[in-house]
Symmetry: C2
Subunit: 332 residues, 2 copies
């Protein structure tokens, strides 16, 4: 009898769980998963490097300068500021949830976060250092030498290990627990009717065809301007630069819409200043649909439910340079 009860309760439990999960199991967007399987020591080292402007020639620009973790993992500028105030060609994408992307950069030219991390360090228009110089700087700093030894178990410091650490830190930068995810997980009151209607519009009008999955984007490349060509002064042509295929002209990685309330301005050229504008342009150019003001407002309201818990961490204290550390060269 008790076994039967037990079994009944167990079956009931399974059934409830299935329903609870099942409620939103058919949705094209999945909740952000919390971080798992992180090498904590490697990530802590990576956090220091992420915040260290000594990886740049000037000693002034760090990863966090353009992917600012106080501001949604972006710089909130149309295009970024590089060494000697050079104007970058493209909008800095958010680092938040970037581990979920199919590839890195707008054109997907880096396969993963580790490959990405090496790019800006050596880009003359961004951090303007070189991998050799960056390694020399890090290897000259006793505090880093100790920490690399602790983490990697050997004396070698190279760009592979530096970018490995930065990438590990970046993997921790996910933003679970948005109101939308709470709704996906079964809390019917987590979003309002208006926001829910925005989500329905987002699905029925076709936005979700590209903006789907855990990151609500980031998992495919698509042409900017399908129904109508996109007009811009920005000369960047997207994925064609990687593949060489003419069909990939103006094709870009679909950006994640997670935390999109924080990652303004929008598009690869940063020309859309507001979510209202971005939603309007996307509707017309990608879907051939003119959203009414109310429809637009609903979609924007939905998009704002995608803001998740921002990564919270202690500001890192960087190990100091010593007499032999190569000095920054901001004005040479």
């Amino acid at each position: 009898m008790r076994i039967t009860q037990c079994l009944q309760q167990a079956l009931l439990g399974v059934s409830i769980a299935a329903v609870a999960v099942g409620v939103r199991a058919e949705e094209p967007i999945q909740p952000i998963q919390p971080v798992k399987e992180i090498n904590q020591a490697l990530a802590e080292l990576g956090k220091k490097l992420y915040f260290d402007p000594r990886l740049s020639k000037s000693g002034f620009i760090s990863c966090n300068s353009c992917h600012n973790l106080s501001m949604g993992g972006t710089d909130n500028l149309k295009t970024s500021i590089g060494d000697k105030w050079q104007q970058g060609p493209i909008n800095s994408p958010t680092v938040l949830n970037s581990s979920l992307s199919v590839a890195q950069f707008w054109d997907g030219r880096a396969a993963d976060l580790k490959e990405q991390a090496g790019g800006p360090i050596a880009n003359p228009g961004e951090m303007a250092s070189s991998h050799t110089l960056a390694v020399d700087v890090v290897a000259s700093i006793p505090g880093y030498v100790r920490e690399f030894k602790l983490v990697f178990g050997g004396n070698e410091i190279n760009i592979d290990r530096i970018t490995d650490a930065i990438a590990e830190f970046e993997k921790t930068l996910v933003t679970p627990n948005s109101r939308f995810d709470q709704w996906l997980l079964g809390d019917a009151d987590a979003i309002s009717t208006f926001e829910r209607e925005g989500y329905e519009l987002f699905k029925t009008s076709g936005c979700v065809a590209c903006h789907n999955g855990e990151a609500v984007g980031g998992n495919s490349f698509q042409k900017m301007g399908i129904v109508e060509p996109y007009q811009t002064q920005n000369g960047v042509e997207g994925r064609v630069a990687v593949t060489g295929k003419d069909a990939d002209r103006f094709t870009f990685k679909v950006p994640t819409l997670r935390n999109v309330e924080l990652t303004y301005p929008y598009f690869h050229d940063g020309e859309a200043e507001t979510l209202t504008e971005a939603t309007d342009v996307m509707g017309r150019l990608q879907l051939g649909r003119q959203f009414s003001d109310e429809e637009n407002a609903k979609i924007v309201a939905f998009l704002k439910t995608l803001t998740g818990d921002q990564p919270q961490f202690l500001m890192p204290i960087l190990p100091p340079s010593v007499d032999g550390t190569p000095r920054p060269q901001p004005f040479d």
Copy 2:
């Protein structure tokens, strides 16, 4: 009888305490006191503003850009980088323990931290905004509006309240518990014999005449180049710009030596790259004394015992701009 015992013990306690304090009571340097009487809510608001690059015209430069709390409260550059990569005229002093200074800036032109905080925001060569614009930006951001109301109890946002908050945060940036302070507080093993000998030299050769008190400096103005003139390409003339008195030419606020291991390069022009060089120049120009290599090394070793606990805090998450927020103008 028990009362007598009690009294004896109490008197003994007082006596021991007096001795414990008394051990180093005659020293010209006092331990950094932990933060007291802080308005925590005001400081938390100030922390956000301190890290907010939207106080600059470009949207790229925050207080933390040049007074980086990951790097001893400085930028570790000879002179700082301002709006459009302008080269600043002078070395950024550390914000750490700056609440202990007699006045702010190298020339003391601001009476206190609050007055200081308004300077760089509106300086065309630094953050290049204006107080009006900075207030407009902050007042447009709902997250700030709520927090100002909570903290100040009213709707008004003005530069007075903005700088009040920044200054309150900066008051929290003290660095107690250095090894030297542990020694001052009675732990004889906290510094080595070599370091202790460096401290004795620091006192007997006269460094301590200017570098004394809780901050080991910061409490007086002195001429740079007393015994021998200081040679520099840097055109800044110091306190004469404030007082108009010819006697104040090349007079600067004595910098704090707290955390000096982290605040390289040194002097108002940032021309001394190492503590060894700075100690040598100071000895010759201020004291007419050529330190031997060993003496220099001892003083440098002592100086490195002044590195205290760095402020540890959660990286702030900034409230996002909204459609009506004035946009940054990095390239105009």
